[in-house]
């Protein structure tokens, strides 16, 4: 018996074999194979046959066609996603891919149209199809309430679309913000009062009336008035609104890295303050608050002599 090395002769003209060989190569190189690699492996394969095999695999959805700087790459497609797309045609796959690329920000239907160059009616049909297959979903954007962005079904929409902690179902939660506002202010005010009553030296008094944003955040979390988790940034936006109300002032101090609540070596401190003047004299008169101030002159329909606001004010 001669040891005849049985050369595994692949019937090279069999397309199925070519395809499976290519698939094996892909599995060997998970990052993708170029045309060159296939040629090296099966040097006797004609370019035509090669192209036919590759096209077949692509249309079956088992290969992914990618382009890199040196040429085309073929990559084995994930079997799971392959099963998903079974029964879908090319256009749907294209649209799906575009939506996938948009990540968790979602993409608007008009942008899909631009990227795929498909007519609007086609796009709408495809989108409806994909939605019924539960592959994508539509999320209403908080910026423009009529606009719908599409994203993959299992993705969490990004903060910029839903608005973050302050929006629930596209509605700005103003009462929630107001409640938080008042709670933060009460906390800072009581801290300032405690500091003032402590009758220590003024420097210590002032420093103890400060609260870091971290302290306020902890206090609000412990209060438990919020259903959603609030981050320190959220609390800082609330504290900023208190600054714009003129009730609170802020300073930034340098803090050692690693101390609780410091961000980039700085800490923000907040303190309740009193207003510096009483309501000014002009607003103690009816003219200061009058809605028709500009129309009022002597001898006209609206004049100081027959002003009803003045009459009520004088009899008060």
């Amino acid at each position: 018996m001669s040891d005849v090395k049985v050369k595994r002769e692949t019937n090279l003209s069999d397309p199925a074999d070519i395809e499976s060989r290519i698939k094996e190569l892909c599995q060997q190189f998970p990052h993708g194979i170029t045309d060159q690699v296939i040629q090296n492996d099966m040097p006797h394969l004609e370019p035509q046959q090669r192209a036919m095999a590759i096209n077949k695999l692509l249309s079956l959805g088992q290969l992914d066609l990618l382009r890199n700087s040196s040429g085309l790459l073929y990559r084995l497609k994930d079997t799971q996603s392959t099963s998903k797309m079974k029964g879908s045609d090319n256009q749907e796959k294209l649209v799906y891919q575009i939506i996938e690329d948009a990540g968790n920000k979602g993409i608007w239907s008009r942008d899909i149209r631009f990227k795929s160059n498909l007519p609007l009616t086609e796009i709408n049909k495809i989108l409806k199809n994909l939605e019924s297959k539960k592959l994508i979903k539509a999320v209403k954007s908080v910026a423009a309430s009529k606009k719908k962005v599409y994203m993959l079904y299992n993705l969490q929409p990004d903060r910029s679309v839903t608005g973050g902690a302050w929006y629930s179902d596209q509605d700005f939660e103003s009462e929630f913000v107001e409640v938080l506002n008042q709670q933060c202010f009460k906390f800072l005010q009581s801290k300032a009062e405690v500091a003032r009553d402590s009758k220590q030296s003024p420097m210590v008094q002032r420093n103890s009336s400060f609260a870091t944003s971290h302290e306020v955040w902890k206090y609000i979390c412990e209060l438990g008035i919020s259903k959603v988790d609030l981050s320190m940034d959220d609390i800082e936006t609330i504290l900023n609104t208190l600054i714009y109300d003129g009730k609170v002032e802020m300073t930034i101090i340098a803090a050692k890295e690693g101390t609780v609540g410091s961000v980039d070596g700085q800490m923000k401190l907040y303190r309740g303050v009193n207003p510096i003047i009483q309501p000014t004299g002009l607003v103690k008169t009816p003219c200061g608050l009058c809605p028709v101030f500009d129309d009022c002159h002597e001898g006209g329909e609206i004049s100081p002599s027959n002003c009803i606001y003045m009459m009520e004010w004088l009899d008060f």
């Binding site: 302050w166 700005f172 103003s174 913000v177 506002n181 003032r196 030296s201 003024p202 420097m203 002032r206 936006t237 609330i238 900023n240 609104t241 600054i243 714009y244 109300d245 003129g246 002032e249 300073t251 303050v273 009193n274 207003p275 510096i276 003047i277 309501p279 000014t280 004299g281 002009l282 607003v283 103690k284 008169t285 003219c287 200061g288 608050l289 101030f293 009022c296 002597e298 004049s303 100081p304 002599s305 002003c307 003045m310 004010w313 004088l314 009899d315």
Partner: protein, 532 residues
């Protein structure tokens, strides 16, 4: 000279000096510098009356005359000054301040000088002594020397000053009116010997003769006191500086605490006479000086004082600044920044009272961040989009907020332009100031209207009071008095009371608006002079 200012000046002149002076004054305000002939021609008032009105206006410093613009030989021209006439609104505040600082004597001195415009020292002292003696019990009278000492105290602290000598017809090239300050003897007391006591005015029977006799006596006496020609007037600028200091001190007390405000008060008191009115900050004071000059009631130890000063410097309101390290630290009071902060607080309070606290939030946000887009305003202020839009548009329509367009393309296509909202503090302050003038004019007109409505009732009550007084003086019986009192029926009495209440309310409202006017005017003057 805006129309609101002219209207207010007209009302004030009419109330204090009468219709004729009002006509002449408003005419001068509207038409600028004019000579006598033109005034007579254009107002249609007789020469006599015009001359007298001009005298009244000059006496009170509301009008100045200067040689004609067309060169020598052209008739003198008269210019009315709007600012001075508007100060009439503030007279009650001046008098009240003098009362708190120098007691009744000071109050009466200031009141007399404000009413007469210019007066000599001797005249003032006599009149004030007489008035004070009126109110004292029988047998007591006011000594001239007390009044003189009060007068000299007022001069020392610069509340009174000498009137500058009038620019003669042949004066040289000084085209500008010399200010009182440029006159070196501005605050020098003349050497005058005034000996005597206040005279009580006797009862009304001999009133007429007494008055004539007194007039003759005065005429003789004036000549014997050696200070004729030296006229004194109230230094309004000094009062304004005092008001400004008071406001700063109370703002510090509100923001920080009592001790800090005492420290600031000490600093301001020490720089009262050394700081010029237009300065942006006081002269630097060292911490040692401040420590020595603190009022004796506050014995705070030196390190604590240093801490307070550091806190004042660190405060974001920037009332006090540090100017150096010598002498334990040199500190100044930043006057212009304090005024800017106070003006900003005034603007914010107006927006808050008028439009609500959310609009005030947007207003303050725009003040801090200068320029913002609509979306950013909504995000920072945490107000729902619809409401924020509405509030912004209301503020825009009232001109409290301005819109700045920044185009992306050369044609200002709306879809390709940035629209930024912004607040400019100085123009807004000017606008509010005009609103204040209009408000005060409205209040005065309403007051006049109310008095006119009830004129008949007022006259009746005055007649009854006169009858009552004469009956009492001649010793009538109680029944007669009650009979006279019953001539006013109960509802009429109620009406009178209500009227009195209304008029008091309107008066006090005028004073309150005047406080706002003062703040805004000081801010505008300090900013305008620093940028010019």
């Amino acid at each position: 000279m805006t129309s609101q200012e002219v209207r207010l000046c007209g009302l004030l002149l009419r109330e204090h000096f009468g219709d004729v002076v009002e006509k002449v004054g408003t005419h001068l305000l509207k038409s600028g510098a004019q000579n006598l002939r033109t005034i007579i021609h254009e107002t249609g008032i007789s020469l006599d009356l015009v001359k007298k009105s001009l005298c009244v206006l000059v006496q009170h410093g509301a009008c100045v005359f200067s040689p004609g613009r067309k060169g020598r030989g052209s008739p003198t021209e008269y210019v009315a000054s709007c600012d001075r006439i508007l100060r009439i609104l503030r007279y009650p505040r001046y008098i009240y301040t003098a009362k708190t600082l120098y007691g009744d004597t000071g109050e009466l001195i200031i009141e007399e000088l404000l009413q007469r415009g210019h007066m000599t020292l001797s005249n003032t002292v006599k009149t004030v002594a007489d008035r004070l003696t009126q109110n004292m019990e029988e047998g007591h009278s006011m000594d001239y020397s007390e009044v003189s000492s009060a007068f000299s105290k007022l001069v020392e602290t610069h509340f009174l000053q000498r009137c500058p000598p009038p620019a003669g017809a042949g004066s040289k090239d000084s085209t500008t009116e010399p200010t009182p300050e440029s006159f070196p003897d501005c605050y020098k007391m003349p050497h005058v010997t005034l000996v005597g006591r206040g005279k009580r005015q006797l009862s009304t029977e001999d009133g007429e003769e007494q008055r004539n006799a007194k007039k003759a006596r005065l005429a003789i006496e004036v000549g014997t006191h050696g200070d004729e020609g030296i006229y004194w007037q109230v230094n309004l600028e000094r009062f304004h500086l005092h008001f400004r200091d008071q406001t700063i001190i109370s703002a510090v007390a509100n923001k920080l605490d009592q001790t800090s405000s005492e420290i600031v008060r000490t600093m301001l008191r020490m720089s009262e006479v050394t700081t010029s009115p237009a300065a942006t900050c006081t002269k630097p004071l060292s911490a040692n000086e401040i420590f020595r000059s603190l009022p004796s009631g506050y014995n705070i130890p030196r390190p604590i004082l240093d801490q307070y000063l550091t806190l004042l410097v660190d405060d974001p309101m920037e009332f006090v600044g540090k100017a150096g390290e010598s002498g334990g630290g040199m500190f100044v009071v930043n006057l212009d920044r304090a005024l800017a902060n106070l003006a900003r607080a005034t603007l914010e309070s107006v927006v808050q009272e008028r439009f609500g606290s959310r609009s005030a939030r947007i207003f303050r946000l725009l003040l801090r961040k200068r320029h913002l887009e609509q979306k950013q305003v909504e995000d920072f202020a945490m107000i729902p989009a619809k409401e924020a839009k509405e509030m912004l548009y209301t503020l825009l329509s009232q001109n409290l907020v301005q819109l700045q367009e920044i185009p992306k393309t050369a044609d200002f296509a709306p879809s390709r332009t940035f629209y930024l909202y912004t607040v400019n503090q100085l123009p807004t302050a000017r606008m509010l100031l005009q609103n204040c003038y209009k408000t005060v004019a409205n209040l005065i007109e309403r007051r006049l209207f109310e008095s006119k409505e009830s004129k008949r009732l007022l006259e009746k009550s005055q007649r009854i009071e006169a009858i009552l007084a004469s009956l009492q003086a001649s010793g009538a019986e109680p029944e007669q008095l009650t009979e006279v009192e019953e001539m006013i029926t109960a509802p009429e009495k109620q009406q009178l009371d209500a009227l009195r209440l209304h008029i008091n309310k309107l008066d006090s409202a005028e004073n309150q608006v005047d406080e706002t006017i003062f703040l805004l005017e000081s801010y505008i003057n300090s900013t305008a002079s620093s940028t010019s």
